[in-house]
Subunit: 228 residues, 2 copies
DNA sequence: CCCGTTCCTTGATCTGTGTCAAAAAAAGAA
DNA sequence: TTCTTTTTTTGACACAGATCAAGGAACGGG
């Protein structure tokens, strides 16, 4: 698949004339990252944003002691570091490839010109920023108002949704990464999954998860019911 | 001060022709709220966004048990609930007046028309969304990677900045509200301020704060030094 | 200025989750 | 397969911060 075809399918470029898209694609840069490779580092000077073409990328913050909080896991088609385009200067967090990944890079300057000439592109971008804002608000709520069992149950149910609702599916990321995404530790994820198993709500074999009782899991996710 | 003059000073409308601004102001609705009054409730149907004209408004999430996490405290000139314009439907959180407040409401439909015709307006809005995104990322980092003393020290230093760098200033919000903003409890705020006092870093008299030793406070805020 | 209400402080205690350590399991390399 | 490395699990323990409770201070309306 070539870049133009790929870009044409993305929500960001919906409604954009093919001619424009063609122009845009000419100013992009493709780059590959091996698993574990750094895409960018917080506070480094930044000059554009990325779209993930293939692979998986984590966007994360680090504490002085090296603890990590993942803000977002980027999947193919998702954009990231958009905010450098509008209040430029520096990357707002770190990014690292979780798998072998390929990115499309858009220089900020060219983007801004396009925004001025194409209101659809601007509307699409505002939609993307808005939905990310909503996700972040949810993350804040999770960290502050919900416990680890609630967050984990929510994640499992969400993942089940992505996997077409099948009761049996594989975790899409390592448990340690999941822990950093949920704002907890690998140990706590292990223990909480074990507790859910004991309660007969799920079954765990390695990264294979089977949801046995959906209702109680939903109750836990909603905070209407405690685990145990 | 009339509404048009007020709006003309805001970053959101920077670069907008006066004529356009005049049009815009005609479709707004003014509304007043008494202290403690609800501006909107999470998940209620939404159809536009607000700019705060005077007063103070908190945007917050609630847990099922009634615990509260403040996402943002809105000051005059700030917009809020912008995201309802782009991925409409529902308010993403609750809003309540912390003081007697007046708001200017913009219906989404008219806004969207303006965005299509005025790229500057769109760019300004993207800038606002981006900076809010950056703030939220910071909040996530605070909740997940930093302790209460770090967050509180950061808040005090930040507040000092707002108060022109004077060493003595008054808290701009009640301590209980501050607690919900920092993601902790009133008791913890009290205790942590007391500890900072004992350590000789600050002095507290009611809501009057005096910063005695700025350096150690900065070290604590940065996580390079522990309190006590 | 008084009195009721709200807000803040302080102490005692509880608890969820983090930390440290070590063994077990799984994944990769040779 | 076998060896090595990485990831996960489990246990014992520690601790920051929450909760509960009660007294004290500040505030605001009459």
């Amino acid at each position: 698949m070539n870049v133009v075809n790929f870009l044409a399918r993305l929500p960001l470029f919906r409604g954009l004339p093919p001619r424009e898209l063609d122009d845009l694609s000419k100013i992009t840069t493709l780059r590959s990252f091996r698993q574990g490779e750094t895409v960018f580092v917080e506070d480094e000077p930044a000059s554009g944003f990325y779209i993930l073409f293939s692979g998986k990328v984590k966007i994360f913050k680090l504490s002085p002691e090296g603890k990590e909080q993942i803000l977002h896991i980027i999947e193919p088609g998702d954009s990231f570091a958009e905010i450098t385009v509008f209040e430029g200067g520096k990357y707002p967090a770190n990014a690292e490839a979780l798998e072998q990944s390929r990115t499309v890079f858009f220089p900020a300057a060219a983007l801004i010109r396009k925004f001025r000439s194409d209101p659809y592109l601007a509307m699409n971008m505002m939609g993307i920023l808005s939905s990310r804002l909503r996700e972040f608000a949810q993350t804040i709520e999770n960290l502050s108002l919900r416990g680890v069992p609630e967050r984990l149950a929510t994640y499992l149910l969400h993942l089940q949704g992505l996997k077409n609702g099948a009761d049996m599916f594989d975790l899409d990321i390592k448990k340690g990464v999941l822990a950093n995404l949920l704002g907890t530790t690998g140990e706590s994820v292990s223990r909480t999954l074990a507790r859910m198993s004991e309660a007969g709500l799920i079954e765990v074999h390695g990264k294979r998860i089977t949801l046995l009782k959906r209702r109680p899991l939903e109750e836990i996710a909603a905070g209407r019911r405690k685990l145990d």
